[in-house]
């Protein structure tokens, strides 16, 4: 696995201007660490490509990988 680096779970950032303190704190600190199938950021370090992997955090099996549409320029 050393060819790939983990970037944490894919999460939506609330709008900092309109989020309440509680929502913002939840976004900054709290994590969904319950075992299950999750979408996560991973980086292929030798090519520098960040992508999303759907992975089972119990069996460590990657089910699916895809590029994050927003991050590669609106799906162009």
């Amino acid at each position: 696995m050393s060819e790939f680096a983990y970037g944490g779970e894919l999460r939506e950032m609330p709008d900092p201007a309109s989020a309440t303190d509680a929502e913002w704190t939840d976004y900054v600190f709290n994590r969904n660490s319950v075992p299950g199938i999750k979408c996560e950021w991973w980086c292929h370090t030798s090519s520098g490509v960040w992508f999303v992997a759907e992975r089972d955090t119990v069996s460590d099996i990657v089910l699916r990988t895809f590029l994050h549409v927003k991050s590669v320029g609106g799906g162009a």
């Binding site: 696995m1 050393s2 680096a5 983990y6 779970e9 303190d21 509680a22 704190t25 939840d26 900054v28 600190f29 709290n30 994590r31 969904n32 660490s33 319950v34 075992p35 999750k38 996560e40 955090t57 119990v58 069996s59 460590d60």
Partner: protein
């Protein structure tokens, strides 16, 4: 075979329980239910019964006693932390440790060895001096020493790291650093609690937690298990890497994230290494057990996983770094390797005490630093549960500190860099 053993084989009633009483069924209700029969959970039960007179307690475990991180750590006990909260808390723990064998009438093989945290850079030396000063201020024996003093104390170590890594410039020396036999800690607390009337139920999985809201917010009223329902108004969760799953049952979210931490031991060798050696730069810690095995660990695995698998990657990289310090170990064989699930927090301090759910108490966030805290966690959590108020020693570790942006940044928590 001796006849007295045959008698045990033929009867389901064991007339001479060596350590614990086996209870056939759960009672309908308990004053306190503890999830997790590891060191922390059993210690809390022990002190609840001994110091607070609450013995109508059930300790539940989905596996067996001490089968989680209590039996999976590398048994190092120390108090040379960085924050005042941490130093005071762990120092109290070390004091409790020193009397435990007497307390239990059970030999924990508690062995004071001295603990060296190696520094390979000037900035690491600066941190060592900082930690030494904080420690001394709170009466904990720690000092920053130079490379010559390290060489005198550990003559068999290659301070140049074979030229592969920056050389050892000095160390933080912590004389009270110790090791102990980890299973015995769980057994000692378990037996002590059992004798005082606490029920320990192994192979009992918690399936759900029942809450009730009578206008003042949610409160615990019961626990559903695979062996039936139990009514209780006080529930202590001491389940290390399984904490997020239990928190989800009461509708709480936390900053805890779970990564595996691996360790391994070598074949037994004649005693040659008295002190405990840690190098944050090389991601290595090593001590020699009473059996002569070298007990070794490294840093966390780099991504989230809820499993205790072990990897060849880990054994290879740890061995490579170990050989930089101790090249003569190249012929020594590794005999066992394992992993535990570490419940990490963003500030490397635990999350302890009361929660927004009334009657639900948390002893969690023990990441890679939980074993040494076992006795003091039992003491402080039993106080917290019995009186429904956070013990003074754990106020810096409260659940709501994140919402207040008042973190307790414990960079000294991990001997090995994260």
């Amino acid at each position: 075979m001796p006849w007295r053993l045959v008698r045990f084989a033929l009867s389901s009633r064991h007339p001479e329980p060596r350590m614990f009483t086996r209870h056939e069924r759960l009672k309908n209700s308990y004053d306190v239910v503890i999830i997790g029969a590891g060191g922390h959970g059993l210690a809390a039960a022990y002190y609840l019964a001994r110091d607070h007179g609450i013995s109508n307690v059930a300790v539940l475990d989905q596996g067996y006693i001490g089968g989680g991180n209590t039996g999976r750590n590398t048994t190092i006990i120390r108090s040379n932390y960085l924050t005042p909260e941490g130093v005071k808390f762990y120092d109290e723990s070390v004091r409790l440790w020193q009397d435990l064998s007497q307390d239990f009438d059970l030999n924990l093989f508690y062995s004071t060895r001295g603990h060296f945290t190696l520094a390979h850079t000037d900035s690491a030396m600066r941190t060592m001096r900082w930690r030494a000063e904080v420690n001394k201020h709170f009466g904990v024996q720690s000092e920053a020493i130079d490379a010559k003093a390290v060489a005198e104390a550990v003559p068999m170590m290659d301070l140049n790291c074979g030229g592969h890594s920056p050389p050892v410039l000095g160390a933080l020396y912590h004389a009270p650093g110790a090791i102990a036999r980890h299973d015995t800690v769980a057994w000692g607390y378990g037996r002590g609690a059992d004798r005082r009337g606490v029920e320990i139920h192994q192979n009992t999985q918690v399936l759900g937690i029942e809450l009730e809201d009578r206008g003042s917010g949610p409160a615990v009223v019961g626990v559903r298990t695979n062996r039936g329902r139990i009514a209780t108004r006080k529930l202590l969760c001491a389940v290390a890497g399984s904490t997020p799953g239990v928190l989800a049952m009461v509708g709480l979210r936390s900053p805890i994230y779970v990564h595996p931490l691996q360790a391994m031991v070598s074949e037994p060798l004649k005693p040659w290494l008295d002190p405990i050696i840690v190098s944050g730069s090389l991601h290595v810690y090593i001590s020699q057990s009473a059996r002569g095995e070298l007990v070794m660990g490294a840093s966390l695995d780099p991504y989230e996983l809820h499993s205790t698998r072990s990897t060849l990657d880990f054994a290879e990289s740890l061995s490579a770094h170990m050989l930089e310090l101790f090249p003569f170990l190249s012929d020594v064989r590794i005999v066992r390797q394992w992993a535990g699930m570490a419940d990490m927090t963003p500030d490397f301090s635990p999350i302890m005490g009361k929660t927004p759910v009334s009657g639900f108490y948390l002893d969690s966030g023990w990441g890679t630093w939980g074993f040494k805290a076992t006795p003091v966690c039992g003491k402080t959590m039993s106080h917290t549960v019995a009186r429904d108020e956070n013990h003074v020693l754990i106020r810096g570790f409260a659940f709501d500190r994140f919402a207040r942006y008042a973190l307790t940044g414990e960079k000294g928590a991990a001997s090995v860099g994260h």
